[in-house]
């Protein structure tokens, strides 16, 4: 009886390890969030700046948040503007179809002009 339990337990361990290996083989981590850049890291009031997220992977989605101000458009390239002087943090989270995701922040300083 103990022999069968040991055999069953061994099979379970092998299956679990095998599944993990198979997952790695079938889903190579081609997903990479390369960079988050802006055309201007300092802008004046009411000026617009482009922000671009560069990433590789399949079926990518780009989610954008900002502490203040407004983000226009969607996808990998957006525009940002705000009507008062401050420093704003913009966060982009890129996700792929396999569930991988990564976030990057960028700060934009808004001058008084």
């Amino acid at each position: 009886m103990i022999k069968y339990i040991f055999l069953l337990f061994s099979l379970l361990i092998i299956t679990l390890i095998g599944c993990k290996k198979e997952e790695n083989v079938l889903n190579p981590k081609s997903f990479t969030f390369v960079s988050l850049t802006t055309t201007k890291s300092e802008i004046n009031l009411n000026e617009f700046t482009d922000i671009t997220a560069t990433a590789t992977g399949d079926n990518l989605t780009y989610s954008w948040t900002c502490s203040e101000g407004a983000i226009f458009d969607n996808g990998p390239k957006v525009q940002f503007s705000i009507c008062h002087a401050t420093t704003v943090r913009i966060t982009c989270t890129v996700s792929d179809a396999s569930g991988y995701s990564e976030s990057k922040d960028i700060n934009i300083k808004i001058g008084q002009k």
């Binding site: 009031l45 009411n46 989610s63 502490s67 203040e68 407004a70 226009f72 957006v78 401050t86 420093t87």
Partner: protein, 308 residues
């Protein structure tokens, strides 16, 4: 007079989710007939408020800057308040708010708009002093403000601006003091209401914390004819600066004074009020969009459930 049949329209227009850079003030807290209810009485209040602003202020001055991208902002809001007289001196209140819309127009770039539930408040009101002969009443209340959502609304995976978000996204605490003195020989009443809202921060949103609000109103009511009462309210609204995890938002916080004339018509268990806000002094930190006009309608239905 078993209880006050004049319902005060006390609305906090610079409360949370309120004017910082680019939105007009939005009512969140607020209640009518702020004193306690008789035992086993229930009162339903529905109110609607519209606000619009298209002019920027810096300090007390109007900003003339044609490059400003936000052309105007508006909001339409409905609130439901339910008050229940639990025992003679204690009333429980529930407040709910819903933005029909909050809109921010960026001219040729388009506009942002959102709608949704704002926040709820559970409040207990306790009557400390009441003297029917001398016609005065002192009631204090305290409550918890609960956001209906801590996540910002997005469109196509992009955050809509904070100024159009319906929910403050954070818990808070509310205290209120209500004092009434009646002068029945001249059909006049005097009220003093002070309300403080302490706002928490939202860990899902850059630890954003809306500034605390301190609102004080003095009301004078005068019976015009039977069932019709005129009310004049002088209101001061002070709002602290907002904060986020990297510091204070300089372009937030204000000190405003309003005169708000109000008409109140009562018939049976119902009452209808209309109010219009007239700003008489404004001071905005740095630069913010100020409200141009604001008006509100209020419907109240009060019932005695005791069967007496």
């Amino acid at each position: 007079m078993k209880y006050l049949v004049v319902f005060l329209f006390f609305i906090i227009s610079s409360s949370i989710v309120s004017a910082q850079c680019c939105s007009v003030g939005s009512p969140i807290g607020g209640t009518t007939s702020i004193g306690t209810l008789p035992e086993n009485n229930i009162r339903y209040t529905v109110f609607y408020r519209n606000g619009y602003g298209d002019r920027y202020y810096s300090g007390t001055d109007i900003v003339n800057d044609t490059s400003i991208q936000v052309k105007y902002a508006l909001s339409n809001y409905v609130g439901l308040f339910i008050d229940y007289g639990l025992v003679e001196r204690l009333t429980l209140g529930f407040e709910f708010g819903y933005f029909i819309n909050k809109l921010q127009d960026w001219g040729s770039k388009g506009s942002f708009e959102a709608s949704g539930l704002s926040s709820g408040i559970i409040v207990g009101k306790y009557n400390l002093l009441k003297d029917i002969e001398s016609e005065y009443e002192l009631t204090v209340s305290a409550g918890l403000k609960i956001p209906f959502s801590t996540d910002r609304i997005q469109k196509n995976f992009v955050d809509l601006p904070r100024d159009v978000q319906p929910s403050p996204g954070a818990f808070g605490f509310v205290t209120q003091l209500f004092f009434h003195k009646g002068f029945s020989n001249i059909s006049t009443n005097l009220f003093l209401v002070n309300r403080i809202e302490i706002n928490g921060s939202n860990s899902n949103d850059y630890e954003y914390k809306y500034g605390n609000c301190y609102n004080t109103s003095i009301f004078v009511t005068k019976k015009i004819v039977d069932n019709l009462t005129g009310i004049v309210q002088l209101r001061n609204e002070i709002k602290d600066k907002d904060r986020e995890d990297i510091g204070e938002i300089q372009s937030s916080g204000s000190n405003l004074f309003f005169i708000s004339p109000q008409l109140n018509y009562s018939f049976g268990d119902f009452s209808v009020s209309v109010l219009y806000d007239i700003p008489i002094y404004r001071y905005y930190n740095v630069r913010q969009l100020g409200g141009k006009y604001s008006f509100a309608l209020n419907f109240i239905w009060q019932m005695d459930l005791s069967g007496e």
